[in-house]
Amino acid sequence: RVGWEHFQQLMEEDKRVEPRDWMPEQYRKTLVRQVSQHAHSEIIGMQPEGNWISRAPSLKRKSVLMAKVQDEAGHGLYLYSAAETLGTSRDEMYQQLYTGKAKYSSIFNYPARTWADVGAIGWLVDGAAITNQVPLCRASYGPYGRAMVRVCKEESFHQRQGWEILYTLSHGTEEQKQMAQDAVDRTYGPALQMFGPPDGDSPNSQQSMAWNIKRFSNDDLRQRFVDMIVPQAEALGLTLPDPELKWNEERGHYDYADLDWDEFFSVVKGNGPLNHQRLAHYRAARDNGAWVREAAAAYAAKQADATRGSALLSA
């Protein structure tokens, strides 16, 4: 009861819950699921862009791209660590991803088809991620909120880089401009869907908001994102693939067309273009690395024994 009251008070005063604090089992579960899914998304998200590291068209772009994909691995690490403070081990989370039990952001089941997709992912996918994540910096669970602060700082850098790639392409040759437009056409819809289903179809949102994890509804965040990217697209000289997109004076927002939610749910269920490939790539990396992890563990154990041994001798 004391724990429960303390927790309630933290919620009411909008203060941080820390690992040592008592928390409702459902709160813990919700967070583990959300934080680990977020971590998994960073890990799987390395693949579409990683696909272009070897073929990046200039050394500068290659360097920036390598650094970016590496940052994603870093974000994965922060987030797994945050989730571990909730009592779930990294290996357990890995296992959930490995077996396909855990989800990750569905957009990574789409391919990075051309170099321009690297730009579109940076601009739209990282852009949507930031819109989603900035409020999460104030999430009630301390380690998660703090991890998000670090992540957001780097993500906004990535978004800027993506925008620059597209800007260069859209001011380049005709072929480059077409490449940029195609990538935006492909990425726009799935990026808007990153905020999750419409509020009416998102049953868990209410509880997450009550717990100060989520601060805005899916549709609110989506609107915020649309309002942000419309002028950015204009500055790029590229068109967003929605003929219904227009400023609504009354609402003070851009109106946009309904998204293809059938496709969204179908991809979530495993029928996206690359669901199988993404998981197979991850599994192959884990499988091929198993002997290395075993060796590192065995070596560490031997070293620890040796240290204990010499400590005994010198004692």
Binding site: R55, P57, S58, L59, Q70, A285, G289, V292, Y299
Partner: protein, 247 residues
């Protein structure tokens, strides 16, 4: 300066090709921390390549990208060690071990180059290669002293790359000529220290120093290897589809 440019190019090609090879590990490493570590090393090497190619290109009015993307297989001067396939993690570590021990020795000496640009590049690179060396050595010890399987794989990794060690110490041109003016470091003069240090760490890891002699063809010409063409086909494909484009 033409000769110095060719020397810088040769050094830069090694870094570029190895960065290209290592970049493949990102998202495929045995552990998340290694995705990051190998990515870091690849990034460092790419950085060194960019300094060196930019410097080389300045002699011919060419950019780093002209040199990286629009030279043919015949025109590259990378050594065969960096062109070797990643293989398993142990083979990659073996390749890293040889290359980082070699470049560490090289840059330590190149700091004193009579060419101030090369000296500055070496100075900057050396700090990073320090870490590369340590990374490779730590993994050598871990894999050598880990499990039976890891020790076997690590030994195989060493055997796979060892034939390409000697090429690093071959006194090719323009390096040999430039070393007379203290611009370049004479490759053969690095050999003893590198081999001594490699031998020590390999023995410490409980492994055998391979007895393979240097593979025939230590001239960096590409004539004695089958890998370079595949590496460049992939690396250059997009840039070459759009000649003259800006990215």
């Amino acid at each position: 300066p033409e000769e110095t440019a060719r020397y810088a190019l040769l050094l830069g090609d090694d870094c570029l090709i190895l960065a290209q090879r290592l970049g493949h590990w990102i998202s495929r490493a045995p552990e998340l921390e290694e995705d990051i570590a190998l990515g870091n090393i690849a990034l460092d090497l790419l950085g060194h390549a960019r300094f060196l190619l930019t410097y080389a290109g300045s002699a011919w009015g060419k950019s780093e990208d002209d040199l990286a993307y629009f030279r043919s297989e015949e025109e590259f001067r990378s050594c065969r060690l960096v062109e070797q396939e990643n293989g398993d993690f142990a083979q990659t570590i073996a390749r890293q071990l040889l290359f980082s021990f070699y470049t560490h020795e090289l840059y330590q000496r190149l700091i004193h180059s009579a060419d101030s640009t090369l000296s500055a590049i070496a100075d900057k690179a050396l700090k990073e290669v320090d870490y590369h060396q340590d990374h490779a050595a730590q993994w050598l010890l871990r894999l050598g002293g880990g499990t039976e399987e890891s020790s076997r794989r690590m030994q195989n990794g060493l055997e796979a790359v060892w034939p390409y060690l000697e090429e690093l110490f071959a006194d090719v041109e323009p390096t040999a000529e430039l070393s007379k003016n203290d611009i370049a470091v004479l490759p053969s003069s690095l050999r003893e220290n590198v081999l001594t240090r490699l031998t020590a760490i390999i023995e410490q890891a409980g492994l055998r120093v391979p007895d393979a002699k240097g593979a025939l063809g230590a001239d960096r010409s590409g004539r004695f290897s089958e890998h370079r063409g595949f590496i460049l086909a992939e690396m250059q494909v997009l840039a070459r589809q759009h000649p003259g484009a800006t990215w």
